[in-house]
């Protein structure tokens, strides 16, 4: 049974360019989360979908970050006009919906903005 799949695993992009990260949640999981991991901030919540609908995007930097879930089998996180401070590991996780259910994380997409 495959876990959460994230692509690409590594991405280097120039300042000002766009980066798109993909996530395939575990089949049957109806909640999908995006987190950003840095040494300084730890695991920062970005956004959350339930049954493909956006529920909470309170962690998303408003101007350059966007996320979508066009179908139950994948979600994308897009960063426009990337900046060096966007460099981080972006983690996608999926779970069953109810509070207290385990989050299963993918291996992450390491983004480096030069």
């Amino acid at each position: 049974n495959a876990g959460v799949i994230q692509t690409p695993r590594h991405k280097v992009t120039g300042k000002g360019q766009e980066a798109t990260l993909w996530c395939e949640p575990i089949s049957g999981h109806s909640a999908v989360f995006w987190y950003r991991q840095t040494i300084v901030q730890g695991l920062e919540f970005l956004t959350y979908f339930r049954n493909q609908a956006p529920i909470d995007d309170s962690g998303m930097p408003k101007e350059r970050f966007s996320a979508q879930m066009p179908n139950q089998s994948h979600s994308t996180l897009k960063i426009q006009s990337t900046q060096p401070q966007d460099s981080a590991v972006y983690l996608c996780a999926s779970s069953l919906v109810n509070s207290g259910n385990t989050l299963y994380f993918g291996e992450g997409s390491r983004l480096i903005v030069v």
Partner: protein, 113 residues
């Protein structure tokens, strides 16, 4: 405003000692507190979790102690092993339909032999 705080930022213990990792939170509506463990090069994975109906949860060498009044909890790792070296994240979520987890910044544990 950091909703979930962890201390210390890093901790080194000798093999066989007990490691104590601390966590505190702000939001009284939080009712589920998992700890996730992150090994280098891997993804975070659930280690152990507690709900406020209990003040203690034990799983092998790992024990959570929970103090609802003070909004504090701690993870105790007894008989620490070098294989326990990892970053440990305390997290919290509230009840209802919001399953979002708010994580602390993590404690990096090193166990020396």
């Amino acid at each position: 405003q950091q909703q979930v705080r962890q201390s210390p930022q890093s901790l080194t213990v000798w093999e066989g000692e007990t490691a104590i990792l601390n966590c505190s939170y702000e939001d009284s509506t939080f009712d589920y507190f998992p700890w996730y463990r992150l090994f280098p090069g891997e993804s975070p994975a659930l280690l152990i979790a507690i709900r406020p109906v209990s003040n203690k949860k034990e799983d092998g060498r790992f024990t959570i102690f929970f103090n609802k009044r003070e909004k504090k909890l701690s993870l105790h790792i007894t008989d620490s092993q070098p294989g326990d070296s990892a970053t440990y994240f305390c997290a919290a979520s509230d009840g209802g339909s919001n399953a979002k987890l708010t994580f602390g910044k993590g404690t990096k544990l090193s166990v020396k032999s």
